[in-house]
């Protein structure tokens, strides 16, 4: 059972505790480039009562599809979520560590971090990954959540070096982000309803998958749809596959109708 002397105590910092317990960060030999699965497009957009996050399900290794059902948008805690693009292995690990850290902090301190505190915490984890990023294993997340102190949805973009940028309306990351953010830029209105926001992210991922080979579209054959989640004052909630299937079927009909 870990007990520390005063002055030597890692406090409410779980990654520091891991180091003290002997689970340090992954050390890669210098100069090596590693080919590993990469995760691609994720988006987030603000609506009148919170934020919507969404991500496609594809992971690629070079030109190969390595996973069809990857979940890149995950719940961080009750009122926030995180989405990732970049090297899949380190990214999944980072999310797991981030989730544990938020809950660990809350329990040790007796109160949860503020939403901004969580965004900063994620920034320091991205920064800790910089050595791996130099070897082709960068992780570029999106952080979004409902700020219970200000009663508003907020979202953050990051760069590979841990730079943290709060965005006003919408944000996208990953290889399909150019196409996805164009769709959102054109379609965004202030005070979108929840339904319109879900429609907008679904459409943006569709266009990203249409133009970017590393982004997966809705897989009607296998019934695999993007992960879409809303976060509002009530907390995190996943949008069901049934709703997504209906939306995409309608979208496909519209596109087919326009072509004929």
């Amino acid at each position: 059972m870990p007990v520390f002397q005063p002055g030597d105590d890692p406090g409410s910092d779980f990654p520091m505790l891991l180091q003290r317990a002997g689970y340090g960060p992954l050390n890669l030999p210098a100069g090596s480039m590693i080919e590993s699965p990469h995760a691609t497009t994720c988006v987030a957009v603000r609506f009148d009562n919170g934020v919507v996050m969404a991500g496609d399900r594809r992971a690629t290794s070079g030109h190969l599809i390595s996973h069809r059902t990857m979940e890149k948008v995950v719940q961080a805690d009750r009122h926030s979520g995180v989405a990732i693009a970049g090297a899949a292995g380190p990214a999944v690990d980072m999310i797991r560590l981030f989730q544990v850290q938020l809950e660990y902090y809350e329990k040790v301190q007796g109160s949860a971090l503020s939403l901004e505190g969580k965004a900063n915490q994620l920034a320091s984890m991205v920064r800790a990954n910089v050595p791996a990023a130099m070897q082709g294993m960068g992780v570029v997340p999106i952080f979004a959540g409902y700020d219970v102190r200000r009663s508003v949805g907020r979202l953050w973009a990051y760069d590979m070096l841990g730079g943290r940028y709060e965005e006003r309306d919408h944000v996208a990351t990953g290889s399909g982000s150019l196409h996805a953010s164009t769709v959102m830029k054109v379609g965004y209105r202030t005070n979108l309803s929840r339904d319109d926001a879900v429609e907008l992210v679904a459409r943006s991922l569709w266009e990203a998958a249409d133009a970017d080979s590393a982004t997966g579209g809705p897989d009607m054959v296998r019934g695999i749809f993007p992960v879409v989640a809303t976060i509002d004052s009530e907390g995190w909630s996943l949008v069901g596959d049934d709703e997504l299937a209906t939306r995409y079927r309608t979208l496909i009909e519209q596109i087919g109708g326009a072509a004929s």
């Binding site: 059972m1 870990p2 505790l17 317990a21 797991r96 329990k107 007796g110």
Partner: protein
């Protein structure tokens, strides 16, 4: 040449035990008992910010009486141990029995080898997944003794009197308000009344979610007592 004093081991242990017991008896007591949906923990506590009962992990709670800084150190050590195990292996691999044993080692070691024994008594409770049959309550004494309590547990000064009031009123399948009332009346004893402002109540509840721990607001405690 002066001779070092010889103290018989029996006497040394007795002195330490008396010291620890005195420290524990100075504080206020707490109880834990099973109810239909889990385990409820009721503590006599006038502070709204310095907690005696807290969350360790998904299904596990901690409670301590005695010296605040000492049981708070144990609380944080428990969270660390649980989170490290859960992170390294799986969340399913964290259980109350393992934690209780670790606490027993720590307390036993401090009792026999430390500068002074820790003046605390603690409780580790785990709520079962499917039903009350899997609920567990471990009572760990200042000297590292672990006791497995099947239904109810009382910690702190006058714990024997509180415990007998608690066991005589306990029945299988109490609802939440009944369980809180029983816990409070056991703590209060005859001729004394405890109000929601001097109580801390928390639950481990089979609620279908990952995290089963929940604190009750003072208004919720008051309404449970009023019925």
């Amino acid at each position: 040449m002066s001779m070092p004093y010889y103290v018989a081991p029996e006497q040394a242990m007795k002195d330490r035990a008396d010291f620890a017991r005195k420290g524990i008896a100075r504080g206020r007591a707490l109880v834990a008992l099973r109810f239909e949906r889990g385990i409820v923990l009721v503590a006599e506590n006038t502070s709204q910010s310095l907690r005696k009962v807290s969350e360790i992990y998904d299904r596990i709670a901690f409670a301590g009486v005695g010296k605040y800084n000492e049981f708070d150190q144990l609380r944080v050590a428990g969270i660390r141990s649980a989170e490290l195990t859960g992170y390294q292996y799986s969340r399913d691999d964290v259980d109350a029995r393992g934690l209780a044993n670790d606490y027993a080692q720590l307390l036993g070691n401090s009792f026999t080898h430390g500068m002074k024994p820790m003046e605390v008594e603690i409780l580790v409770a785990e709520v079962g997944v499917d039903g009350g049959g899997e609920d567990q309550i471990f009572h760990i004494m200042y000297d590292g003794t672990v006791i497995d309590r099947p239904d109810t547990c009382a910690l702190g000064g006058e714990s024997e009197a509180i415990s007998s009031r608690l066991t005589s009123g306990f029945a299988e399948g109490l609802d939440l308000h009944e369980a809180i009332k029983l816990g409070v009346s056991a703590l209060a004893g005859d001729g004394r009344e405890l109000t929601s402002s001097s109580l801390e109540v928390a639950l481990l509840e089979r609620n279908g979610e990952r995290r089963c721990f929940r604190r009750l607001e003072p208004s919720e405690i008051a309404s449970a007592l009023q019925e």
